[in-house]
Symmetry: D2
Subunit: 101 residues, 4 copies
């Protein structure tokens, strides 16, 4: 399944790149395929592995912060994999042109 998530501490002020970097370090090491976007991180994998990673990232953020908002969106399509690239390519194919990605 595809899972987009973001983890936002409420007591670290407006500059969050250091906080996000701590999370991304864990994502990058996890072995799961992922993409970092300007609005969150998208990972692909099975429920157990993905959720264990997000829990680990959330707990890491809670070490530095007293209140954290974590949002998770799951798109689970039976039998499908390779969707980090595949979903975008399917849209480009319908339109017959490259989009900004």
């Amino acid at each position: 399944m595809l899972v987009e998530f973001s983890i936002v501490p409420l007591d670290k002020g407006t500059h969050l790149s250091s906080s996000v970097a701590k999370v991304l370090k864990m994502v990058d090491k996890s072995g799961l395929d992922y993409r970092l976007t300007s609005m969150g991180t998208i990972v692909e994998g099975r429920w157990q592995r993905v959720m264990a990673l997000i829990e680990q990232c959330h707990e890491r953020m809670m070490e530095d912060s007293d209140r954290v908002i974590t949002t998770i969106k799951i798109d689970d399509h039976r039998g499908r994999t390779g969707r980090l690239a595949g979903k975008v390519e399917a849209v480009e194919k319908v339109l017959g042109k490259k989009l900004k990605t």
Copy 2:
């Protein structure tokens, strides 16, 4: 922590009350405190129990559907409990009036 979630199948058409009812039956039996709203379900509890419940609900929906979108929003405030009612009451207290809840 407080966790709002919704589980939406994409191949069940526009009438989802039966699908939602299957999920709510599991939530109601879970023993976790919860509130059903017109836009989702809010539960309060620790990560392991809440996420095990949401996984169970998501998997139940996948039995009937080939594609499911599940959204989860976590508000984790260190040391706080009783927030299903408490957060709303705190806002009413600031305003000095009852709001529609």
Copy 3:
């Protein structure tokens, strides 16, 4: 349409009831039907009025904060109204029991 929204400032620390109260005051005065939950506010109405209200609330929060995260979820079901109460009642009817709301 039903619209759930929440507006979170990132530089106001972990206690947000005063900030939320400013927003709810505007919602309560808007004339739109709404429900305040522990995870957000749900309003019912047409796109123009609902979005004008959310913009007004977001701009109010930006007066006090340098960075604000606003999330909006729209459930638009053609021809349907009265869904703030109706969606919950439909689920209760399927289950044949009252749920926690």
Copy 4:
């Protein structure tokens, strides 16, 4: 501000690339800078232009569908622009390495 959105019809089944393509055609023509990801579309611009675009996309989807779920997440950071690329680069700079984007 940065705005991520996704527009999901509930009565079009599990294959949504044609529906998404109609929306992306409008985004691509809008003149706003954007990125298509596997989980949504991220645009950068001012409230009025971005929300007019999303309304137009939502209404387009409602022409083909009786029920549509649209989610919108706004990250508004006073005085900042160029954040579609800038936020990702800031995280990479902290980590001192390229991430998957």
